[in-house]
């Protein structure tokens, strides 16, 4: 309803409502170091790393057999990724050495995503594509590297590309497809899934917030009803976004664990 209203208003012209576009993600540098403009998402990355490390470090440091509150929370957080992601998917034989990587990945992404819902920050770090690309590229290197280390380069490519239990007559069709999906597409989907969710969620929130303000300020009449309604929707969408922020961090780590498991497996 609000969208329809704003669309008609925009069509009626005049000054009109400028819907938020990709440009709202291009923030000016907060300060500059040499030629590098340090932007808000860059600072958020550092802040997130600091928060994650401080929390986990303080919780882990106590090493009490009967944990206090902080240690209990830290163990719950660490144990969640360690047990229900790393151990359950990679298997109890190999999972241990991937736990630090997966734990770091999960909490780094989670905190950066949740920044989108923290007052005064309110910007999802991974709505900057480059940052999502960085983590997806790293994941690609990790799971392929792990596989090649275990099976050798050719053995690993065979593992990922040649499906077992299929008649060789189908190989010309399946091998390129498998190679494409397992080696080439995975990092792209990883990156785009995270990036697009954060990007779209933020645009949606900005749209509801600025649209509501516009309806109240410039439309009058029905705008006094529609504007606050848009804000209510913005609040509801915010809760949805918190769920999405958690889910995206979880899915990213889950897929990383599955890719590593697939690379370590003995059969395709």
């Amino acid at each position: 309803m609000t969208i329809a209203a704003s669309a008609t208003i925009a069509a009626e012209g005049g000054e009109g409502f400028h819907a938020p576009g990709p440009s709202i993600f291009d923030l000016p540098p907060v300060f500059e170091i040499g030629s590098l403009g340090v932007t808000k998402p860059m600072l958020q990355l550092v802040l997130a790393a600091g928060l994650v490390f401080t929390f986990l470090y303080l919780a882990a440091k106590q090493r009490s057999l009967v944990p206090g509150k902080l240690q209990f929370a830290g163990e719950g957080a660490y144990g969640f990724v360690r047990n229900s992601v790393a151990r359950d998917i990679i298997g109890s034989h190999d999972f241990q050495k991937f736990v630090p990587y997966l734990v770091t990945l999960f909490f780094f992404i989670l905190v950066n995503n949740i920044f989108a819902s923290i007052p005064f920050i309110q910007f999802p770090t991974f709505s900057r594509a480059g940052m999502a690309y960085a983590l997806a590229g790293l994941s690609w290197l990790v799971y392929n590297g792990v596989g090649m280390k275990k099976h050798g380069v050719l053995g690993y490519l065979k593992l990922q590309s040649v499906p077992s239990g299929v008649s060789p007559a189908m190989y010309p069709l399946l091998v390129p497809l498998e190679f494409f999906s397992n080696i080439l597409v995975r990092p792209v989907t990883l990156a785009l899934r995270l990036f697009c969710n954060m990007f779209a969620g933020h645009i949606l929130l900005v749209l509801f917030a600025t649209g509501g303000l516009y309806l109240i300020e410039h439309v009058g009449g029905i705008g006094y009803v529609a504007g606050p309604l848009a804000w209510v929707l913005a609040i509801l969408v915010s809760f949805l976004e918190i769920l999405v922020q958690f889910l995206q961090a979880y899915v990213f780590v889950l897929l990383n664990a599955m890719y590593i498991q697939g690379a370590l497996a003995d059969e395709h």
């Binding site: 576009g21 860059m42 241990q96 900057r128």
Partner: protein, 187 residues
Amino acid sequence: MKSLVILAAAEGEEHNPLVPLWEEVAIALVVFGILFFAIKKFVAPNFEKTFVERSQAIEGGIAAAATKQAEADAKLAELEKQLADARHEAARIREEAREQGAAIVAELREQAQAESARIVEHGKAQIEAERQQAVTSLRAEVGTLATGLAGRIVGESLDDDARQARVIERFLAELETADAADAGKDA
């Protein structure tokens, strides 16, 4: 609103959001890398050690409890065995005592019977002796009386010892046969 529009316009060309800025890729990798090494070095080992210690503590507790349980079971079995031994011993002693008691009673009874037999025997002997004595003294007395009486009746002195003795003997023999005949009649 206005200021935003003006800002976008001033920047000129729209930046395609899918095209990465390479400094962002680099800074994300660097920050992630630092966080990863920090967690690998300072966080994960501590958590893992705590988990291991905790599970060891729990397993140790369970093992200690199992040992205690086994000890208690052994002790209980031992005590039960001791108790059974004691019961057995008690039964044996009771049996023995009963046997001994029976033996003592039997012995005493035997003794008492022997004693009573002895007393009865002794009594009989004494009676017999007294009877003999009585018979002897009676015989002497009866002899004297009879001779005295006969002497008075006959007027003849019977003081002569030899004759006197003969007369008495005869008299007594007659008396005894008469007694015996009486006894046979009575019987």
